[in-house]
Assembly symmetry: C2
Homo-oligomer: 227 residues x 2
DNA sequence: TTTTATTTTTAGCCAAGGCTAAAATAACGC
DNA sequence: GCGTTATTTTAGCCTTGGCTAAAAATAAAA
């Protein structure tokens, strides 16, 4: 079977970015995605978003009804997943091969994800050993656009005395990633919840032989797989 | 000393492509580069070129006088050399690491050369072992924009019974590169001129243990270093 | 249900980077 | 030197993807 991403049409940088944003927003909360939500996530204006989703609707990449938000079509979903696949593969490259730190790669991958060559991605994937996850623990869609679903929970959701292994981050700002580094937390790190405060959701956790306090804000941005 | 390519301003894709084209044309024949020549090399219209070189002139990237063509300033030259540096480093990556063939890499490198991150290029260069030449034998400018000058001649310029080692190609179309492959000629291949026809410039050459005829057109597109 | 607030869309404008057609300048041939 | 030809520039238009301001639709509150 031929690679699903062999499209006749190419898409502009802007189009790809819109589809990617909508894809992410659909996964955060199911159903239609609002114009405002897209605008906010892309740091642009709602009026610009309306323009673009109308164009995408004409190209059958999203389903759109006035005032009712947008939703990717199957075709749109596959294109978005492919952009995300490229983004995450490049992040692996940057970290594994060029020794970048996980908080430095996002911006560069935002550019690399738009390079147009399926052959390039096929070879890059092979070169990297066909990784399943990017350096932040996010799953890499396969060449058909399928995302491996993982059994991950937010650290904030797990109970006192339970253990988990860090599998990803919900937010990947440099600030947050640098905080995690300072605390020696990275993908694969084992975390034990020693105490949990009901009032504000803060926790005392054990990482290696260190025990320390973390706020709810931290706990709700860290994905773990319970052990 | 700080890296010369640490510019405050970023340039658009179109601006970078124009500077690159002018850089190449200046190296083909010294002096000002004509509007028409730029247009032809970029497959665009002379009127579009006039527009752009006027913008580049305002930004002090080229020197321009109406009807007199354009010439890169020192700043423009450095920017162009940096784009070329990136292009050629990426070509090395594609061939050496991803096992692309030398006739497949140009298009992809045309896209990759515009990725903006000096740190990325610094690390890529190191990862590749700081190569001096790209897969077509073209020299890679150093981080200050300096091109190593090489003692290369066209095969068509060397005399009967002389030997040379192939160091590059003047033209790098897929057709030409595939012809060379068929004849088992690549960078590093030793070539001996067994005979040379004055009338049409054709030659009989020896490559490995094969002897064969080549036209002038081939000979004037192959760079060799005489032995 | 009516008013008010919020969200979304429309209308009209802007810059970048293309294009064509026509005008201006330079170069060539005699 | 003068007309013809080739090159270059200008003027005006187009598309993409932004923006603001105002209008319209929906949602929330009274």
């Amino acid at each position: 079977m031929k690679n699903v991403f062999t499209f006749v049409h190419m898409f502009t940088l802007a189009e790809e970015n819109y589809m990617k944003a909508i894809f992410h927003l659909e996964h955060e909360s199911a159903g239609e995605v609002s114009t405002n939500a897209i605008a906010e996530s892309m740091a642009t204006k709602p009026s610009s978003v309306t323009d673009m989703i109308q164009k995408l609707a004409e190209k059958k990449l999203v389903v759109y009804k006035r005032y009712k938000g947008a939703k990717l079509t199957e075709k749109g979903k596959k294109i978005a997943a492919n952009v995300i696949r490229k983004h995450r593969l490049w992040e692996v490259f940057l970290v594994e091969k060029l020794n970048f730190h996980w908080d430095e790669v996002h911006e560069i991958a935002e550019q690399l994800e738009h390079i147009q060559s399926e052959e390039l991605i096929t070879r890059l994937d092979k070169f990297l050993g066909s990784p399943d996850f990017d350096p932040h623990g996010d799953p890499i869609p396969d060449k058909h656009g399928v995302l491996k679903r993982t059994e991950k929970k937010l650290l904030s959701e797990i109970e006192k005395n339970q253990k988990g292994v860090c599998v990803g981050v919900r937010e990947s700002s440099a600030d947050f990633l640098q905080y995690l580094d300072k605390k020696k937390i990275s993908i694969g790190t084992k975390i034990t919840v020693l105490g949990k405060e009901f009032f504000d959701g803060s926790m005392i956790i054990q990482v290696g032989n260190q025990q320390f306090f973390i706020s709810h804000k931290i706990a709700e941005n860290l994905y773990v797989q319970t052990l």
